[in-house]
Assembly symmetry: C2
Homo-oligomer: 352 residues x 2
């Protein structure tokens, strides 16, 4: 039986670093990649934390990800750079890109970092959190392999391209927004298919482009963008800002980390970092953001027992709790991760 356990942060960190380094990952890349896993788990985003270690190790073992390469930073202007990930772990590439973004924004007020030749980078939220801890705003996004059709189309033309918005709040309860541009994740649709459950109308189409509540048919067909043509357009805009603008791969050129794990994904990201200190001052910005957020929190909710929320509150609460009590992980995954660190088990590519 699967049991949820708490594992100290330090132990999780050691396990990840050992597993990465055992598979040839350069120490600085292993450290960067591990920090993003840990941050995701601390923020309560377990789907993008150490749960993915086995998948990433699987891709390293399949030769899809370069374990030891240099992440290069090509500074084009004081406010712009292209980061070439050299096909190493996306979490490390994006971690490095965020560092550059923060450093440049603190100099000139805003920075645009365009990232190419990367892989799945985890969640926007962890990079946003890192920016907020440095007092700056981060807008970010990533492209991904094909999952969604054009409005009125019956072919996959774009990924679900998650986007993030993060702003530093006083006291560390940062504004963190991070979401994919599909109505629902393929993971949730797959679980419904495995359980034989129907899904709500609007989540996806079958392979002929017809509405269906049959999860298995959606897996053969298309996941729908959030808000119809709005989500479709926004997903394309993200690919324009990542794959097209970086000189890397845009959606039809990207390889799926699930179906072609042995090939470089070629995923691209963008990071726009803004330092409020250069505009109205950090103190002033944070006081104003706090005033607005506090006012929202005072407004009535439909269910009086469930107060309204501002994005990021749940993550900040999870962070404080998990840092203190340890990272929540199911015992099976924890055992598997220990085995990956010792080299007694292999990485496994999950179904996409």
């Amino acid at each position: 039986m699967v049991e949820m356990i708490r594992v100290p942060v330090k132990e999780c960190r050691t396990i990840c670093i050992e597993a990465y380094e055992r598979n040839g990952v350069a120490p600085e890349i292993a450290a960067l990649a591990t920090e993003q896993f840990i941050l995701c788990d601390l923020l309560g985003i377990q789907t993008h934390g150490i749960l993915r270690l086995s998948h990433y190790i699987g891709r390293l073992q399949a030769g899809g990800i370069e374990p030891a390469t240099s992440i290069t930073v090509d500074r084009k202007t004081p406010a712009m750079a292209i980061v070439d990930g050299g096909n190493t772990l996306g979490t490390a590439v994006a971690g490095r890109a965020t560092e550059v973004a923060i450093e440049m924004a603190q100099e000139v007020g805003i920075a645009f970092i365009s990232v190419k030749n990367s892989n799945h980078f985890g969640a926007n939220a962890s990079f946003g959190w890192g920016a907020c801890e440095n007092g700056v705003i981060l807008l970010s996004g990533t492209n991904g392999s094909l999952t969604m059709p054009a409005t009125g189309g019956k072919a996959q033309v774009v990924g679900n391209n998650p986007i993030g918005y993060a702003a530093p709040r006083k006291g560390g309860k940062h504004f963190i927004l991070d979401f994919a541009l599909s109505v629902q994740s393929r993971g949730k649709i797959r679980r419904a298919a495995e359980l034989g459950e129907t899904i709500p109308e609007g989540w996806g189409l079958d392979s002929n482009g017809m509405n269906t509540t049959d999860a298995a048919k959606v897996l053969q067909g298309f996941v729908l963008p959030v808000g119809g043509h709005k989500g479709y357009g926004l997903a394309l805009a993200v690919d324009m800002l990542t794959g097209v603008l970086s000189g890397g791969n845009y959606a039809p050129l990207i390889k799926s980390q699930f179906y072609e794990p042995e090939k470089p994904s070629g995923i691209c990201h963008y990071f726009i970092c803004i330092d409020p200190d250069k505009l109205i001052g950090r103190e002033m910005f944070q006081a104003r953001l706090e005033a607005y957020c506090s006012w929202i929190k005072e407004q009535p909710s439909i269910d009086p027992k469930i107060p309204v929320r501002v994005p990021g509150e749940r993550a900040a609460e999870a962070y404080a709790e998990n840092l203190h009590k340890g990272i929540l992980v199911d015992s099976d995954h924890h055992k598997r991760n220990q085995g990956l660190a010792k080299g007694t088990v292999k990485g496994v590519i999950p179904k996409g």
Copy 2:
């Protein structure tokens, strides 16, 4: 009977400028504001073109908008500025801010322009189009007065905060995306209420936060954000980037242009301008964007008679047609606008 007629661009331009100047608007502000109206009409966005002249003139006559003031640009770094609109016409303020954004981005690669003390700015699309004609990418957004609740809330806490993404395409068929963060506009819901028609579930809530298909009840209650918590969070992020970060008004402080037309709205905008020439070169960027868009256009559609589209195609087609044939306007509106130019009729504030 209302009849749609075509009026030459030059004639529309003259009418707007005369109407503005007759109401004390400074010539340079009148010219900037008129250009945005004309651009919206050319792009086929008639809801945000010369149709609004009467509303804007009504606000000038009510004393809500300053006709003659200076739009000031406070350059904070080579890549950042705060533009203070001085409460003049939002279309002029945002037009000037876009000029600054383009100029700065062409120097340093990216620019962030934070705009405060503005008014309703029309549509993101016209500013995006202007940027594209200068070869640069524009991301933009504006806050607005309260219309939407928090997820699970039953009070208005944020506006429908439209956002825009524009990228220059070869041959002028620019990528233009512009949408509000509500599922549906209040205007459409109001028309349904006036016709006594029901609206689809999911467009809005009544004043108790309950789902309803009664358009009149939604007008008393709340317009819902697109994609539930995703749209709510994104609307807040837009206000963080505009009202909070500019030092101007955020949603609860903004006055409605419909219900308090005699007061300054205090609306704020952001413009992020990116010059692809500084990253991978304009030619390269446009060739890659064209390759991706052309590939999408080749993909099959559900209805073979309705090919899939890339955002902006319809606008580009409208632009070419309207520039040649003249702006489409209903004869009543055209007469009213002629009267505004001659000073024989007053501006009218529509219902919100």
